[in-house]
């Protein structure tokens, strides 16, 4: 079975989804979905260790070798993203029951979990595949299921948010399709590894440039990089709480992966004359995203929406790392990808617990939540501290490497901006802390009403992982380092 390892993490939810649709009872569907997700996660862990020890794993689907067939080509980068997505996905599904049972009508719950599995399969498929067109197909699987999941939100605005996301997402996907078409026209191949070999041989070509431009714009729409982020706050705010956790922790991460993969493995931008200009653009957009996102987050009256804007800002940090354009920068970007999944997973999941108990994510209704749900609130604060980047948490490791990368390039202004951006994070996290531990309005006595056990366990686990990876950062740091080295160093180690 070991030789089948690369395909298993994708295959399990892929086959699991239709099988799940056959289950009539929602509880059964939930149990089944969890089982599938956990199994997929275990396979990913095994795949990760194999990749770590033995290097790149290839797998020819249908037995047809690349470039004639579709190939999975798992290097450290793929393995890292797969690990994050499947791990967080499994954790969220396990924690989801109470929240889903509250927010989703009885008849929809079964299919809700089918859609979750489809989304998971799509995201994992994107992260695993070595074929450009296959990537598009799986992108659409994840996108379509996401639109439906967002539309399940309790408010009618969820429908509009889902529609906007659908329009923007489809434009993005079509742009990617155009880009892939141009690439195919230039090279005659769809395999990313093959593309990576044939494209540089073409020399500087306007078609290649246009292809890259369209793919980048398309991916950035999915990534919600400023100024293409307009769909994100609505979608995150209006979606059911669990869906928000899922999207925030996984979906943008996968988009970032695609951006990195196309930039470095397919186009080999590091050798291009355009690299300098593009790096500047990435850094500029990233910095604007950090500040615009954080500033809006600071003044938001709704915590869920605030956190959504915070995601825009955090994506900015990741893109800055990408824009620095060195091994260190890329490494920082990947480390933040890993850590941010943990932070936002914990934050949004804790928020889902608040919504479950309080019924709203408005700051005014969260007053005194710290005494009502002490553990969940503590976990939220811990993850928030990690988001700020205080030493001792995973967030610090991200920021440290980002700052290191900026310093190595003598970009002192950028360094200052990164720190100032972190400070803005502190402001909106602090706003929550103040609210959470403030006296409640009026004389209402606060009953202690902690989140359901299953949910609470996952929240606390994610928060503690933030702490753990703040002290023992070897896993993300070394993996990201190896992946960045392989992407930029040229030799696939």
């Amino acid at each position: 079975m070991l030789s089948q390892l690369p395909v298993l993490p994708v295959l399990l939810p892929l086959i699991g989804a239709p099988a799940c649709a056959l289950l009539r009872r929602p509880t059964l569907a939930w149990v089944f979905a969890c089982l599938v997700a956990v199994l997929a996660f275990l396979c990913t862990v095994s795949l990760f260790t194999t990749t770590w020890q033995e290097g790149v794993q290839t797998y020819a689907l249908g037995g047809w070798p690349s470039p004639w067939g579709i190939e999975y080509r798992i290097d450290l980068l793929n393995a890292l993203v797969l690990l994050v997505v499947s791990g967080i996905g499994a954790a969220i599904l396990l924690a989801s029951r109470a929240s889903v049972w509250q927010e989703i009508g009885e008849t929809r719950r079964g299919l809700f979990y089918v859609a979750c599995l489809l989304c998971l399969a799509g995201l994992l498929g994107i992260a695993a595949t070595g074929d450009a067109f296959n990537l598009f197909v799986f992108l659409e699987i994840s996108s379509l299921s996401t639109y439906a999941l967002v539309a399940m939100g309790p408010d009618r605005r969820a429908l509009l948010a889902a529609y906007n996301y659908l329009i923007m997402g489809t434009i993005g996907a079509t742009f990617i399709l155009i880009g892939i078409g141009f690439l195919y026209m230039l090279t005659g191949t769809l395999s990313m590894a093959d593309l990576g070999e044939r494209l540089p041989a073409m020399g500087e070509s306007r078609t290649a440039f246009a292809a890259y431009a369209f793919i980048v714009v398309g991916v950035c729409l999915k990534l919600a990089l400023f100024p293409l982020h307009l769909w994100l706050p609505g979608a995150y705010t209006r979606a059911p709480s669990i869906v928000t956790v899922f999207l925030a922790a996984t979906s943008t991460k996968v988009a970032l992966y695609v951006l990195i993969r196309f930039t470095y493995s397919v186009f080999h931008l590091e050798f291009s004359q355009l690299a300098q200009a593009l790096d500047t653009v990435f850094i500029a957009l990233g910095v604007i995203a950090v500040f615009a996102g954080s500033l809006v987050a600071i003044f938001e009256a709704d915590l869920k929406r605030g956190l959504a804007y915070s995601s825009v800002a955090q994506i900015g940090f990741m893109v800055i790392g990408l824009g620095i354009g060195t091994v260190e920068g890329l490494q920082a970007s990947l480390i933040h990808l890993f850590n941010h999944a943990l932070m936002k997973g914990a934050l949004f999941l804790a928020l889902a617990a608040f919504i479950l108990r309080v019924g709203s994510s408005n700051f005014s209704s969260l007053r005194g939540i710290g005494r009502r749900m002490p553990l969940a609130t503590a976990a939220f604060v811990l993850a928030g501290i990690s988001l700020i980047g205080i030493p001792g948490t995973a967030g610090f490791i991200s920021k440290w490497y980002l700052v290191l990368a900026a310093a190595a390039q003598q970009q002192w202004i950028l360094l200052g901006l990164i720190l100032a951006g972190s400070l803005l994070t502190a402001v909106y996290i602090w706003r929550f802390v103040e609210t959470a531990y403030a006296e409640p309005e009026g004389d209402s006595v606060i009953q202690r009403n902690e989140a359901p056990l299953g949910m609470l366990l996952v929240i606390v686990l994610l928060a503690l992982l933030n702490l753990y990876f703040g002290f023992d950062s070897r896993l993300p740091v070394e993996t990201a380092g190896g992946a960045a080295q392989a992407l930029l160093g040229g030799d696939a180690s």
Binding site: V137, L144, T174, L177, G181
Partner: protein, 117 residues
């Protein structure tokens, strides 16, 4: 043939942009989806044009035929068509629900009913 060598692509670009224009400029939610449809179909035309070989036959193997058009873009576009109709179906379903919730499918009227979401 020289003039024509890019003419085809340019027309496709014009088609794509007409579709794209409808998506972003029109406020009617159904019209936007129609625009998206046109946009995507035009991309299909681009792909099929890529696969075109002058004088090539349809890629169904026959004795005595040496020149076929490229089958790979056809396969890709078969998949892409499915993706397109799937998106349209989901989008239309959303439109129906939006209409039920807001009693309108015009973006400006809907936005006027809610504070921004």
């Amino acid at each position: 043939m020289d003039v024509f060598s890019y003419f085809n692509y340019w027309v496709v670009v014009v088609l794509m942009m007409l579709g794209f224009f409808i998506v972003i400029a029109r406020g009617n939610l159904v019209k936007k989806l129609i625009g998206l449809n046109i946009f995507q179909t035009s991309v299909f035309i681009l792909y099929i044009s890529i696969g075109n070989v002058s004088g090539g036959a349809a890629p169904i193997l026959e004795e005595g035929v040496a020149l076929y058009s490229n089958p790979l873009p056809h396969v890709l576009i078969l998949t892409a068509i499915v993706v397109g109709i799937a998106t349209t179906a989901v989008g239309l379903a959303l439109v129906v629900r939006i209409h039920a919730a807001y009693d309108s499918v015009e973006e400006s009227e809907i936005l006027a009913q809610d504070e921004p979401c």
